[in-house]
C-alpha cells in the first residue's frame, strides 16, 4: 500500500525499517539528534524526527520550529524532496547530486536551518546514519500529495 508524502506515516515507516535493519545502523554507531524536515509548498509541513542511539524513536508533525528543540532542519520545496526520493528509488541510492550533503551544500537547494552551530554540526556528525535513513525509501511505494 502506498504511503503519502509528506506525512507522519511516511517517516514512521522509515523509522520502522530502521529498526528492522538494526544491525546496519548499529554498525554506523550512536546517533543522537533531533532533526527537522520541512516540506515547503502551498501547505508546508514540519516534522521533528528524534534519533536516539540506534533508532528513530519519535516522529511528530509540529506547527512551529520552536515547539521542539531541533538541532537543525532540512528545508526544501516539496518538488525537491520528491526528486531526491525518486533518485534513491531509481538507483537504490541517491545519484551524486541528490545526497543530503550535496543538496544542502552549494546552491542552497535544500537549506540547513539552525540556531546553534553545535546543532548544525550534528548534521555532519551523523551524516552516514541520516543518509542511510532516507535511503530506506528506496523500495517504498510513495503517493505524492
Amino acid at each position: 500500500m502506498a504511503i503519502k508524502f509528506p506525512s507522519v506515516e511516511f517517516f514512521q515507516e522509515l523509522a520502522r525499517r530502521m529498526e528492522a535493519k538494526s544491525a546496519e545502523f548499529e554498525k554506523l554507531g550512536f546517533c543522537d539528534t533531533v532533526m527537522g524536515v520541512r516540506v515547503e509548498g502551498d501547505t508546508s509541513h514540519l516534522y521533528a524526527l528524534t534519533f536516539d542511539v540506534f533508532e528513530c524513536s519519535n516522529v511528530r508533525e509540529i506547527s512551529h520550529a520552536g515547539d521542539v528543540e531541533l538541532d537543525f532542519t532540512l528545508a526544501a520545496p516539496r518538488a525537491l524532496w520528491r526528486e531526491m526520493f525518486e533518485s534513491i528509488q531509481k538507483h537504490g541510492q541517491p545519484e551524486p547530486g541528490y545526497t543530503l550533503n550535496s543538496l544542502s551544500h552549494v546552491g542552497d537547494r535544500m537549506e540547513v536551518v539552525y540556531d546553534d552551530p553545535e546543532g548544525h554540526d550534528k548534521f555532519y556528525r551523523f551524516m552516514a546514519t541520516l543518509q542511510a535513513f532516507v535511503d530506506l525509501a528506496s523500495d517504498l511505494e510513495i503517493e505524492w500529495v
Partner: protein, 376 residues
C-alpha cells in the same frame, strides 16, 4: 635509557622476600586497607551499554575533582587510591588545570567516537570504482586534493598525540577522546592515500604553504592554543572542505568516503568548540591570549588555500578544464570558501569570541584571492 628509578627492585631484598612470601601463600591483603565505599552504578540506557556518564559517581566524578589537580602527577586514574607520601612517581604533567583541557560533554564525544569507528579497507565501496570513468584531468585534480588532505591529516594525528602525555591522568576522558582522534586522523590519511593510488595516478605535489600553516598548529605554545587552531579553526575549515569534496566528488565511491570522514571531523570540531567554550566560561582572563593567537593562526591558515589546492578544487568543482568548467568551478569554490569563513565565525560566536568577525583577516584575504583568480 634516560630514566633510572630510585629503587632497583630486582636487587631489593625486602621486595624479593615479600614476593617469595606471597608465593608461599602468605597474603596480607594490605591493598584492601583503604578501599573506598562501594558506589552505585546504574546503566541509564541499556542500548548504550555501560556509558562513561553512568560511571560519573562519587570520587570518580570529574565534578568532584578540584579545578587544579595537585595530588596526582603520575598515571593514577581519577578515583584511584594514591600511595602515601611521595612514592608515586612524578611524570611531569604540565596540563593540571581542568580548564587546560576539559570541554563540555567530552564523555559523550568519546563514546560517540568509539561507536562510530569505520574501516577504510572494507567500508568504502572500492569494488565499485571500475563502474565509473573519470576524465583524466578530474582524476589528476582529485589526486592533488588527496595529497594535500593527507598532509593535513598527518598534523591532525600528531597534535593530539603530542599533548596527550602532558595531560594529568585525572583528565582521562580528554586523553581518551584525543586518542580516538589520532585513530580517526590516521584513518583519514589512509583513505586519501589509498584513493590517490587506486586509479594509478598516485600522490602529487606536497604543499609548501600548506605545510607552513600546519606547522603553526603543531608549534602552538599551549594545548588550548593548539586545540583552537586545530579543532575549531583548522578542522572547521576542513569539515567544510570535506562537504565540498563530497559535493564535487567524481563518483559515489568518493562521496561515501567523504560522508564518513566528515562525521569524524565534525566530532573533533564539536569537542574543540566545547573546550573553547569551557575555557572562556571558566578562565575568561585568557581571552586576549587566545585572540592574539588566533590573529596569527588565521593568517597561517590561508596557507591551506594554496594555488595547487585551489586549482584542483576548481577543476573538480567545474568537472573539467574548459573555460566554462573553470568558470563554474570558481563559482563553486567561492561559495564554499564563503561558507568556511561564516561557519567559523558562528562557532567563534558560540564559544564566546564574537570579536573574531571584526579582528579576523580571513574575509579580506578570501576576497583578494578570489579576485586574483578571476583576474587570471
Amino acid at each position: 635509557m634516560s630514566y633510572y628509578g630510585s629503587t632497583d627492585f630486582s636487587y631489593n631484598s625486602d621486595f624479593n622476600l615479600r614476593i617469595r612470601d606471597i608465593k608461599k601463600g602468605n597474603l596480607d591483603f594490605g591493598w584492601l586497607d583503604n578501599t573506598r565505599d562501594k558506589v552505585e552504578i546504574r546503566r541509564r540506557d541499556a542500548r548504550r551499554g555501560l556509558a562513561l556518564s553512568d560511571c560519573e559517581v562519587g570520587p570518580y566524578s570529574i565534578e568532584n575533582s578540584p579545578e587544579i589537580v595537585r595530588d596526582n602527577r603520575g598515571l593514577a586514574p581519577r578515583g584511584a587510591i594514591l600511595a602515601e607520601g611521595s612514592d608515586q612517581p612524578d611524570l611531569g604533567p604540565t596540563l593540571n588545570r581542568k580548564t587546560d583541557v576539559w570541554g563540555y560533554r567530552v564523555q559523550s564525544y568519546w563514546e560517540e567516537a568509539m561507536s562510530r569507528q569505520w574501516n577504510v579497507t572494507t567500508d568504502v565501496p572500492w569494488q565499485d570504482m571500475d563502474k565509473y570513468e573519470i576524465p583524466d584531468e578530474v582524476e589528476l585534480a582529485f589526486c592533488q586534493l588527496c595529497t594535500l588532505l593527507s598532509e593535513v591529516e598527518m598534523i591532525a594525528t600528531d597534535l593530539p598525540a603530542k599533548w596527550s602525555h602532558h595531560m594529568n591522568s585525572y583528565f582521562q576522558e580528554v586523553k581518551g577522546f584525543i586518542a580516538t582522534q589520532c585513530v580517526d586522523e590516521a584513518r583519514h590519511a589512509e583513505v586519501f592515500r589509498k584513493r590517490a593510488l587506486a586509479n594509478g595516478v598516485g600522490l602529487l605535489r606536497a604543499s609548501v604553504r600548506g605545510e607552513h600553516a600546519l606547522k603553526g598548529i603543531l608549534e602552538a605554545d599551549s594545548y588550548s592554543e593548539g586545540s583552537v587552531f586545530l579543532h575549531v579553526l583548522g578542522e572547521g575549515f576542513i569539515l567544510t572542505l570535506f562537504r565540498s569534496s563530497e559535493f564535487i566528488s567524481p563518483t559515489p565511491v568518493e562521496q561515501r568516503m567523504f560522508q564518513l570522514v566528515m562525521q569524524d571531523e565534525a566530532r573533533h570540531v564539536s569537542y574543540g568548540l566545547q573546550h573553547l567554550r569551557y575555557l572562556m566560561d571558566n578562565c575568561p582572563e585568557i581571552r586576549p591570549q587566545i585572540n592574539g593567537f588566533l590573529d596569527e593562526a588565521e593568517r597561517h591558515l590561508t596557507g591551506l588555500f594554496n594555488p595547487d589546492q585551489l586549482e584542483s578544487m576548481i577543476v573538480l568543482g567545474g568537472k573539467g578544464t574548459s573555460p566554462e568548467c573553470i568558470k563554474r568551478g570558481i563559482e563553486v569554490v567561492g561559495a564554499f570558501q564563503g561558507k568556511q569563513i561564516q561557519e567559523y565565525f558562528q562557532r567563534a560566536d558560540r564559544a564566546g569570541l564574537p570579536e573574531r568577525r571584526d579582528r579576523s583577516p580571513l574575509l579580506e584575504l578570501q576576497e583578494r584571492m578570489i579576485g586574483m583568480i578571476q583576474a587570471s
